[in-house]
Amino acid sequence: MSVPPATHDVSVNPPLLDASGLSKTFGIIEVLKDISLTVRAGEVHAIIGENGAGKSTLMKILAGNHSPTRGEMKIDGQPVSFSGPVDAENHGIVLVHQEILLAPDLTVAQNIYLGREIGKGIAVDDRAMNEGAAKAIRDLGADIDPNAIVSRLSIAQRQLVQIARVLLVPHRIVIFDEPTASLTPHETEALLKVIQDIRAKGVGVLYISHRLPEVKEIADRVTVLRDGRLVASHETSELQPADMARLMVGRDVAKLYPDRHAMEAREPVLQVAGFDVPGYARDASFTLNKGEILGFAGLIGAGRTELMEGLVGLRPAKGSVTFRGRAVNFTDVHSSLKAGVAYLSEDRKGKGLLLTKDLRTNLTLASLGKFIRGLQIDRKREADALDKAIQDFDIRTGTKNILAGQLSGGNQQKLLLAKMMMLDPQVVIIDEPTRGIDIGNKEQIYKFIAALAQEGRSIIVVSSEMPELIGICDRIHVMREGRIVGEVTGEHMNENEIVQLATGVKSGVGEAA
């Protein structure tokens, strides 16, 4: 990638923030244990760790969202304790949250200036704010209408708005909690440039990401958390991504992508022809074979999500769909699930899991029919199913009696996977399977996907991460502006080919292959 590595030595710069002995307990669970950490001016300090390692919790403490159970923080050598996020902001510490925190009914500009509106007399100066917002977004290399209502934006766009909002606050330390999880390479690159710019101004940056090459590229220093403990902290130059992965997971992650057996006969399971999702996708045609993993690549807004949602009956759509030799028309999810086609949403929190309910309720929600004995739900069997799912999918949690929303992101994804697999579907459509997921978990999820294919199920993976598509898929369809513009297979399966198709530089190549 194009961002140059840091050339100057920042380790001699004065520390802006000095945290020592930070611990945090929720109820009886100790999430952070004795963490000490320094952020220097002009330094990009990456924090990596598995899902649930406590990265976000640590960042929330530094930004005043949580108060630590133990430990202390110093800014410029002066001890501080924050009464809340606004207090931290006044000290110059700002946080880009992992979750999207925007008011859905307000416009982009209104959100960006929320709580610090520009005034003109007693009125607000919307013109000035629109201009400011447009500039802030342009600075991120994006193009979003400042007058657009946030609820109408895609997740990626919201993420950019959120970053723009935070960067407008006067800051000395900026914390990014997985800012790139839902961004495409293009946008990621623009963001990394912005980070280089702000660090050049002497701002300290704390950076969390599961994308280790990105970390290698941008960070001066890498700190690794595991199970709430700080296990290592090194100059980035001393580490390769593979070392980082090892430190995170505590074992070697030599091979991220599982081996795939070559497919024998091509037996079509799902045939889609001339499929339209009005407003999002036009004239989509493709075939999914038994035991195959089919990838869908494309830029954000290419309409992949909508195409899949249309296919399973979540959106109004029309076209011909043949499933296992029979023409089907899924008008609602119930019918597609029953037929054996399951869709896992990219929006885990909003559409995948009931965050305020426990794991058991979530696990069996889509497949309650299997747990009915007589008139009622057999809770014993539900509990057994949960035990089994925790085992099979390696869902890591201190206790089984927590709410789904209290699981870390990766574990939520595994729970969602487990929930849908309870239905024993023949076709599984997974949208962004590893968004925001650590490398260890990724490896496991890829293994599950491969195993599913091995069992003879057919998988569609929609992803914005090209390496993962290339790593696990047999074939990849590329979408652009609502259309399937090409297919890549075999030796054509490389990033260059996909990017060219996705951006329209090249069209139709490999379709015959």
């Binding site: 929720f26 109820g27 979750e99 999207i100 925190l101 925007l102 008011a103 859905p104 946030v150 997740i155 919201r158 979540l314 609602d332 999810v333 119930h334 597609s336 699930l337 029953k338 869709y343 949403s345 929006d347 929190k349 909003g350 559409k351 995948g352 899991l353 009931l354 965050l355 305020t356 309910k357 309720t361 929600l365 889509a366 309650l368 029919g369 009915i372 008139l375 009622q376 739900i377 009696n401 709410l403 929303g405 209290q406 929930k419």
Partner: protein, 333 residues
Amino acid sequence: MSAATTEIAKAPKTSKDWDMAAIAPFVALALLLVLGYFANPNFVSVANLTNVITRSAFIAIVALGATYVISSGGLDLSVGAMVAFVASLMILFMNTGAVADPMLMLLTAMLVALVLGAACGLANGLITTVGKIEPFIATLGMMGIYRGLTTWLSQGGSITVRDRELQQLYRPVYFGDVFGMPIPIIVIFVTAAIAAFVLYRTRYGRHVIAVGSNEEVARYSGISVKKVRTIAYVIQGLCVAVAVIIYVPRLGSTSATTGILWELQAITAVVVGGTALRGGVGRVWGTLCGAFILEIVGNIMLLSNFVSEYLIGAIQGAIIIIAMLVQRTLMRK
């Protein structure tokens, strides 16, 4: 989506909190019983307590239905008017004398009430789900319709069971008892037990909670949100019908003013019982407790002679607010 992500922050930190929320209404009830004793020792007499619980039957049973509607994320403001409407039609049916045998007539009339209740509930449900109108407004409109139709049926007057014999046969359904236990109390507890079973132990009940806590997640899990909500309204209608079935024998007559404000009382009972108005949580036994609390507050006020009758409404309002404050305080612990 951002609404959902932030929800977690509000969620209880531990399961202990939930338990407190469940217990709080019962604590409030206990406190009220003590208060009642001091206001007037007659209060704790079996006769009085039986009276009070018996007459809380209407609100309690209607509120059981409201628990379903509310925990599925809906609201029904039409129930009071629906009581008047269904009761009027039931009496009119009895007055037709369509069935000769009184006993059979009574049973048929009850069936008619149940069918009517379910139909009214269905209408409410379809308007909010298929018509996609905010439940508050949709059911407010239906309230106007049911009440207007009742006024029209009664031609501005009241509708009374004409057949004395039938009325005498029917009376025990409200005034009678089984082994000393008044029938309405039995009906309350049987209805509540069924409601609790369906909500807590069946697939449909699980779906109600899922739809109420996050509609999208429910939809993506293959649950038909519209169907689940509509059925919740039908259940509400059936509960209204059950309330009507024990209401009619009590006064033997209805008018356009029957059941006025019962919707607000039912919703209050549900909320005082610990069910959140935003949906996703349903507490059947809490609702019962809430209904008892409401009735007992009125009863204490009547039995004690301290309060000017002009102020009863004010004190009642104050007690509800205090009860909710107590509940919140307990939950924060």
